[in-house]
C-alpha cells in the first residue's frame, strides 16, 4: 500500500517545480529549458495512440479473475475500454473471429447459426450503459481504500450490436418461450437463464465497445448485453442461445448469484441493480486544501434514470442536491458534481442516489437489516462516506464488521 501524500510532501514538490522554473526563466519564459516544447517540432503521427507517459492509469487485479476500474482517476462517464473492469470464471479465451459461430435454437422455428459477419449485417443499435458485477462492494474495506476498491466493478461503455429481438424474429422464436439460456465459450462454458421479457425488450448481442470491437476481456467477439442487469447474466464470448419454457437453474443462478435474506429465504433472479452512487473525488489517497472543493462522483440505477443525487458534507446531518451532468441516460452512470467550501475541520462527505422510481440508496444499516448477518456479497449498494481530517487527508470511512 502506498503511503498517502501529506500536504508537506505536496508543498515541497511544488517548491521544487517552482525552483526549476526560475532557473530556466532567464529569457522570461514560463517554461523550463527541458520542457520548452515550443522550440523544436514534436513527434510524428502514430498508427496507435497511447496515453501520455506521465499518466499511469491501471486496473488493480486481485486473484486470477478480477480487475477493477480506477474510478478515482477518471473523468466524465465513459470508461476507457482498457480500464473496463474484469470478472472471469475461467480466464479470457482467445477466439478467432473467422470461426466464430452463435447458435440460436430450442423453441424456435428455424434453429440458426450466425457468423460474426452475419451479426454485423443486421441493423445495428448502440446505447451507453453501465455494466456491473453483482459482487461490487468492498464490504470490509479499510480506511486506506480507494474508490476502485469500494466499487471498481462497474464500468460504462457505448455498446453496439444487434438487438436480440431482431435475432429472435429472424429465427421465429415461439411465443410460448418464457426463458432463454445464454452460454459462453470460455472454459467455464458459463450459462445463465434470462427471461424472454428482457430478451424482447432491450437486450442486445454486442460486438462493439466504445467504437471498436469488444475487447477480449469483455467478451470478444460478441457477448450478451442486458442493460441494468447484473454482469454475470451478460454472458461473454456468447456461443449459444436456447429458448425454453422454464429457467435452466444453472449453478450461477442457484448456488451463486442469489441473495440470502434475513428471513431465511433467498432472492433468486435478482438481476436488476438498485440505485447507487459514490464520491470518487475527493477520496483516498488524496489530500485537499481548505477552500473550494468540487465533490465529484458517479451514480447509476438499473431501473432507469437517476432523478437526483444528494450530497452531505456534514456526516449525514444535512443534504443538498448535486448537479447532474447531461445527458442523464437510463441504466447509465451519470457524473454528479457539488461545489463545497471546506473550512478545514474534521468531517465526513457522502452521496445518496435517488432514481426515477423513487428508490433511495439505502444506508448500510438498513441493508444489513434486510439481508442479514450472513448476506453474501451480491447486490450490496449502501451509502458510503469519506472522512476528511483537519490536515486535509481523505480516508474511506471504515464500517463496523458486517
Amino acid at each position: 500500500m502506498t503511503q498517502p501524500l501529506t500536504r508537506r510532501d505536496l508543498l515541497s514538490r511544488a517548491a521544487g517545480t517552482v525552483g526549476a522554473a526560475v532557473i530556466g526563466s532567464s529569457k522570461g519564459s514560463a517554461q523550463t529549458q527541458s520542457n520548452d516544447t515550443t522550440k523544436s517540432p514534436g513527434g510524428p503521427p502514430t498508427e496507435l495512440g497511447l496515453r501520455s507517459p506521465h499518466e499511469r492509469l491501471l486496473r488493480p487485479t486481485s486473484g486470477s479473475n478480477v480487475s477493477r476500474t480506477p474510478h478515482q482517476d477518471l473523468f466524465g462517464s465513459i470508461t476507457p475500454s482498457d480500464l473496463h473492469y474484469e470478472r472471469h470464471h475461467a480466464g479470457v479465451p482467445e477466439i478467432d473471429p473467422v470461426g466464430y459461430q452463435l447458435l440460436v435454437h430450442g423453441m424456435v422455428e428455424r434453429p440458426t447459426i450466425f457468423t460474426l459477419d452475419d451479426l454485423k449485417r443486421f441493423p445495428a443499435v448502440s446505447r451507453i450503459a453501465f455494466l456491473e458485477c453483482s459482487g461490487n462492494y468492498g464490504r470490509n474495506a479499510g480506511p486506506d481504500s480507494k474508490p476502485e476498491q469500494i466499487c471498481g466493478l462497474t464500468s460504462q461503455s457505448e455498446w453496439t450490436g444487434v438487438a436480440l429481438s431482431t435475432l429472435l424474429r429472424e429465427v421465429g422464436a415461439s411465443s410460448d418461450a418464457t426463458w432463454l439460456v445464454a452460454e459462453g465459450q470460455d472454459a467455464a462454458v458459463m450459462t445463465r437463464s434470462v427471461p424472454m421479457e428482457k430478451a424482447w425488450n432491450d437486450a442486445m448481442v454486442a460486438y462493439g465497445q466504445n467504437g471498436e470491437p469488444i475487447r477480449p476481456a469483455q467478451g470478444y467477439p460478441a457477448r450478451l448485453f442486458l442493460p441494468g442487469w447484473e454482469g454475470n447474466a451478460n454472458v461473454k464470448w456468447l456461443r449459444r442461445i436456447e429458448l425454453a419454457d422454464r429457467p435452466f437453474m444453472t449453478r450461477e443462478e442457484t448456488s451463486k448469484y442469489t441473495d440470502p435474506l434475513a428471513d431465511g429465504t433467498a432472492r433468486q433472479f435478482s438481476f436488476v441493480f438498485d440505485a447507487r452512487s459514490i464520491i470518487t473525488k475527493p477520496a483516498y489517497p488524496e489530500t485537499i486544501e481548505p477552500g473550494w472543493v468540487e465533490i465529484r462522483g458517479i451514480a447509476w440505477s438499473g431501473r432507469g434514470t437517476i432523478a437526483r443525487v444528494e450530497i452531505s458534507s456534514d456526516g449525514g446531518r444535512s443534504w443538498t442536491n448535486a448537479r447532474l451532468q447531461e445527458p442523464v441516460l437510463p441504466k447509465a452512470h451519470v457524473r454528479f458534481r457539488h461545489l463545497w467550501n471546506w473550512d478545514g475541520t474534521n468531517t465526513e462527505i457522502m452521496s445518496r442516489a435517488v432514481d426515477e422510481t423513487g428508490y433511495v440508496q439505502p444506508s448500510r444499516d438498513a441493508l444489513r437489516a434486510a439481508r442479514g448477518r450472513r448476506a453474501r456479497g451480491y447486490h450490496l449498494n449502501p451509502v458510503t462516506a469519506w472522512t476528511i481530517r483537519p490536515d486535509g487527508r481523505v480516508f474511506y470511512k471504515e464500517e463496523p464488521p458486517w
Binding site: 467455464a188 432491450d202 419454457d245 444453472t250 429465504t265
Partner: protein, 197 residues
C-alpha cells in the same frame, strides 16, 4: 436441453413482470424491417447436439451412464481434492460438503437459533444447492478447472454420487443415473424465491 413439452414443476414465468417504464434505446421494431433478413444458416442436428450440453433440474439432458459414491471417490481424490479438500471441506476452492443444520440453510432465524456458539457453517451443496441435476450440468461443463469437459458421463455421475453421499443426501451405495439423480431431495429446494418485478 429442452423438449417442447410443458413442464409444470418449475415454471415461474408470469411472476416476472418487467418494470413498466421501458427505455427504448435499443428497441428496434422498425416498421421498415422485413419479416426476415435471411442472414445466418440453418443449424444441423449434429451441430446442435455437439453444443447442447445443458441439463435441466428435471433431468432433461442427462446422458446414459451411472456412478456411485464408490466409483466417484477415487476420481474425486485424483482430480478435485487438491482444490476442494480431501473431504470436500474446501481449500483454495469452495467447500462442497456440509449439511448442517439439517434441512435449514446456513442463514435466517432458524439457523441463528441453532447456531448458538458454533462457528458459522459455509454455504455448500448440502445446504444451498436446490437441484441435484445442476451438479451434473456444472461438473460436466466446467470441472476440473484445469481440464474442463474432460470427464465422461460415468465419471461425472460418480462424482455427483460421492458429493451427494458426503452431504448425507443419498446412501453410499445409491446409483446415480438419468432416472435417479433428478429425484434426490435437496434441503435447499424450498428457500429460493424468484424476485418479482
Amino acid at each position: 436441453m429442452v423438449r417442447r413439452q410443458r413442464t409444470v414443476a418449475i415454471t415461474i414465468a408470469g411472476v416476472l413482470i418487467i418494470a413498466a417504464a421501458s427505455h427504448g434505446q435499443t428497441r428496434t421494431s422498425g416498421s421498415d424491417y422485413p419479416e426476415r433478413f435471411g442472414f445466418g444458416r440453418a443449424a444441423t442436428h449434429g451441430e446442435i447436439d455437439a453444443w447442447d450440453i445443458d441439463v435441466m433440474p428435471d433431468g432433461h439432458g442427462l446422458p446414459a451412464g451411472e456412478g456411485t459414491a464408490a466409483t466417484g471417490a477415487g476420481i474425486y481424490l485424483r482430480l478435485c481434492a487438491s482444490c476442494h479438500g480431501r473431504e470436500g471441506e474446501g481449500a483454495t476452492a469452495a467447500p462442497l460438503v456440509g449439511a448442517d443444520p439439517e434441512s435449514t440453510p446456513p442463514f435466517g432465524p432458524r439457523y441463528e437459533a441453532w447456531r448458538g456458539d458454533r462457528p458459522d457453517v459455509p454455504y455448500t451443496i448440502g445446504n444451498y444447492w436446490p437441484y441435484a441435476a445442476t451438479l451434473y450440468d456444472y461438473i460436466n461443463r466446467a470441472m476440473p478447472s484445469n481440464a474442463p469437459g474432460s470427464l465422461d458421463a460415468d465419471q461425472v455421475y460418480g462424482l455427483v454420487a460421492w458429493l451427494l453421499a458426503k452431504n448425507g443426501l443419498i446412501s453410499n451405495d445409491a446409483i446415480m443415473n438419468a432416472e435417479t439423480l433428478p429425484t434426490v431431495d435437496m434441503p435447499a429446494r424450498g428457500i429460493f424465491v424468484p424476485v418479482e418485478r
